[in-house]
């Protein structure tokens, strides 16, 4: 078994999981404590010792299935075991297609329990008589599904069509059919298909737009903690804090007047003042929903926050966010009456900086942080990098989040390079992961 597990660990490492020797030793220890007869227990024991986050768990699940399926097939191939005979045996004309159809449908609807795997084999055997497979597994799966007349529900929960079955269950069934077909193919050819790495789509955790919004809120909550505690790393060592004489003297009464323990004045938490500028022009349409949700989440977390949206000109929308609480209302209000005077609909960064500086000149100080969300595409107009440098110089810190991959920066009308030198940090940012990376980077950057 040991070499198999090492192979599995190798495969996990190839999928990007950090599996160290100590984890493997743990896994062996754990496997000694559980019974191997139960696949669930076996897999859980591995998961508890090898996978150290939810994402890792998901990867392990996928790799585990694929790996042991292949191992089992290889063993079977090496020993010359074949199941083909039984498959043919079942299919000698006794399966009534209509009856099978009914049975599968009932099982998928969960009205009667049956082994999906067995049904999948029956289905293959039954359709096998109608003509040989095409050799392409994906095509065969769909052909079998059509033969059986299985249709997924149009909407979850609604069952208008009497022939339709729940989508999830149907997918499960298709998975079984696919696996059985693969098994048959391996038996016929006597070789294993090459191992494929997991597709990105499969390994991502299932999420919906609602969860995305929640994820943004979570990351921003993290951001707030980071900003609030920044500069407090040395609190434990009382670096650069002021002795509170009164409290020290009072304390010393307990030790006979000897000021044994110094008391310090509590350091006031840093109150970050945020200025967020958000591009809402058409060139960043896809990103601006994401950016607006970031802005929305920021407003939930910070009290001293002023937000601006801009296209050609700039408009302060702090009030809109304070007035409207739900995200839907906010985006409607901004689209409707924020008054982002977009005469042409093209972004004009230069003009935006001029107006921004004019509006907030007196409020910018070294304690404030400016965050720009935009793609730095000026549509060929004057970027006014000098003005931007004034903004950056007055503010304590300036961050730029660009919704385009770094590769596209400075191509075409993007003038990222003109602004980059003045920023404390620039980040590409179009997923919550990158937003998290931004938050992480913030901790490493000291103010000033």
């Amino acid at each position: 078994m040991a070499p198999r597990l090492l192979e599995l660990a190798d495969e996990l490492r190839r999928e990007g999981m950090a599996v160290g020797t100590s984890e493997l030793l743990d896994a062996f220890e754990a496997l000694r404590a559980v019974s191997w007869a139960d696949q669930g227990e076996f897999q859980e024991a591995l998961a508890a010792t090898l996978a150290k986050s939810q994402e890792d768990r998901r990867v392990l699940e996928l790799v585990f299935d694929r790996f042991f399926y292949r191992v089992a097939e290889r063993e079977a191939g090496a020993r010359g075991l074949k199941e083909g005979a039984t498959l043919r045996g079942e299919g000698n004309g006794q399966i009534d297609l209509e009856e099978l159809r009914g049975r599968i449908r009932d099982t998928l609807r969960g009205e009667s329990e049956g082994d999906l795997r067995d049904l999948a084999r029956l289905a293959i055997a039954a359709s096998g008589r109608l003509g040989e497979g095409s050799g392409v597994i994906g095509v065969d799966v769909q052909r079998i599904r059509r033969t059986l007349g299985l249709k997924g529900d149009a909407m979850a929960g609604e069952r208008a069509d009497p022939h339709s079955v729940p989508r999830e269950r149907l997918r499960e069934f298709e998975g079984h059919v696919r696996r059985e077909l693969e098994r048959a193919l391996i038996e016929r050819t006597g070789s294993l298909p090459p191992a494929r790495p997991l597709r990105e789509l499969d390994r991502a955790l299932p999420t919906g737009p609602a969860q995305d919004l929640a994820a943004v809120h979570r990351v921003v909550a993290q951001l707030r903690r980071r900003l609030a505690t920044q500069g407090h790393e040395h609190r434990g060592r009382h670096r650069s804090s002021v002795v509170d004489v009164r409290r020290t003297m009072r304390q010393s009464l307990g030790t006979g007047g000897v000021p044994l323990e110094l008391r310090f004045r509590p350091t006031r938490p840093r109150r970050p003042e945020l200025f967020v500028l958000c591009d809402v022009s058409t060139s960043v349409t896809s990103a601006s929903v994401f950016f607006l949700s970031v802005l929305h989440a920021l407003h939930d977390s910070f009290r001293k926050l002023r937000s601006f949206v801009f296209v050609e000109r700039i408009s302060e929308v702090t009030e809109v966010f304070e007035r409207e609480r739900s995200f839907g209302d906010v985006s409607r209000a901004i689209a409707g009456d924020a008054g982002v005077a977009d005469v042409s609909g093209y972004t004009d960064y230069g003009r935006v900086w001029l107006e921004f500086l004019e509006q907030v000149m007196d409020d910018l100080d070294p304690r404030s942080t400016v965050i720009v969300l935009g793609d730095a595409r000026t549509n060929g107009r004057e970027p006014h990098a000098k003005v931007f440098s004034h903004v950056a110089a007055r503010a304590g810190r300036t961050f730029w989040m660009n919704p385009e991959p770094r590769l596209y920066w400075n191509y075409g009308d993007s003038v990222m390079a003109a602004y980059e030198p003045y920023c404390t940090g620039v980040f590409e940012c179009w997923t919550t992961q990158q937003l998290e990376a931004f938050v992480n980077a913030l901790t490493d950057l000291r103010p000033g």
């Binding site: 950090a18 160290g20 100590s22 984890e23 743990d26 220890e29 754990a30 404590a33 559980v34 669930g40 227990e41 859980e44 024991a45 998961a47 508890a48 010792t49 996978a51 150290k52 986050s53 939810q54 768990r57 609602a210 969860q211 919004l213 929640a214 809120h217 909550a221 993290q222 903690r225 505690t229 609190r235 434990g236 307990g254 030790t255 006979g256 000897v258 044994l260 609480r325 739900s326």
Partner: protein, 299 residues
């Protein structure tokens, strides 16, 4: 008296008798933790019973529970040990003035002057305990590094005294809400357990275990509503503890059925944000009034 669990099934049964319905993986990891003597890192959304698991383990195994709540700025003096220097000072004053330095030093750095904090208490306890390190993600990264010695060797080094080794093997649970990524070093030393919201069937069991007098169909409908609320995009989805609270509240109110009106009156038990309240009333309340919920069996 403390007793070890003999098998996974036994662990599950013991936890159930302590009022905690553990899933298969939870029972398995608890059993492994005891067998391998490794700490368990429990992660999951707020309110799925991470802390409760530690309490149940302590009840089920008859081990006392020692809890260390983490927060920002937690340090060794609060978590491990501290010298009681007031007492030391008094001792020095009482000591005759001609006593030698060595004598005094040996005298004042004894166990008598050591204030032991949760971690030291847990490993110096005669009988095995359950040590709960709650919300480890709230503590600073330096604190994690300090935990490494305690968690892998079960010992604490005190410069003046030497190394204090564990007399018994504590069962250690660390919980995290994922508000910050934990260090690899810590993760490597732990078994990992992910707790998620239970499916409708299990949650129904949990609710019925804690509110046994509630009528079956009310409980069923309640769980269905809670699940529907969790699917919405809320700031804070209702936890298991909140659905139990709600069940108890319905019991007190003598509710016969969960309808739109009742939901509106008691919603504040499961939903704790104003915007969330509006959303739930709008999405779920309407369905309840129209009788769309409860017609199908839960699960």
């Amino acid at each position: 008296m403390s007793a070890d669990f003999g098998s996974i099934e036994e662990t599950q049964k013991a936890l159930e008798s302590a009022g905690y319905l553990a899933g298969d993986s939870t029972a398995l990891v608890c059993f492994l933790a005891q067998e391998l003597g490794k700490p368990v890192l429990v992660e999951g959304p707020a309110g799925v019973g991470k802390t409760e698991l530690a309490k149940a383990l302590s009840r089920a195994g008859g081990r006392p529970l020692i809890r260390l709540q983490c927060y920002e700025g937690l340090d060794e003096a609060k978590a491990l040990y501290e010298w009681n220097y007031r007492k030391q000072l008094l001792r020095i004053q009482v000591e005759a003035s001609d006593a030698g330095w060595q004598e005094v030093k040996d005298d004042i750095f004894g166990e008598e002057f050591l204030l032991s904090r949760p971690l030291l208490t847990a490993i110096s306890e005669e009988q095995p305990v359950v040590l709960l390190i709650d919300e480890i993600d709230k503590a600073d990264q330096e604190f994690e590094a300090m935990l490494l010695e305690v968690l892998s060797e079960f010992q604490v080094s005190i410069p003046e005294l030497g190394v204090v080794k564990a007399r018994s093997h504590p069962l250690v649970l660390l919980t995290s809400n994922n508000s910050r990524e934990l260090t690899e070093a810590l993760k490597r030393r732990c078994l990992y357990l992910w707790l998620d919201y239970p499916d409708a069937g299990r949650e129904l069991e949990i609710v019925r275990l804690h509110a046994p007098d509630l009528q079956e169909h009310v409980a069923r409908k309640l769980v269905e509503v809670v699940h529907m609320v969790r699917d919405l995009d809320l700031k804070k989805p209702p936890s298991i503890a909140e659905s139990i609270d709600w069940a108890r509240a319905l019991l007190l109110l003598g509710a016969e059925d969960v309808d739109g009106e009742l939901l509106k009156r008691t919603m504040s038990i499961i939903v704790k944000h104003r915007t969330d309240l509006d959303l739930v009333a709008e999405r779920v309340g309407v369905k309840l009034t129209d009788g769309l919920i409860g017609s199908r069996p839960a699960g």
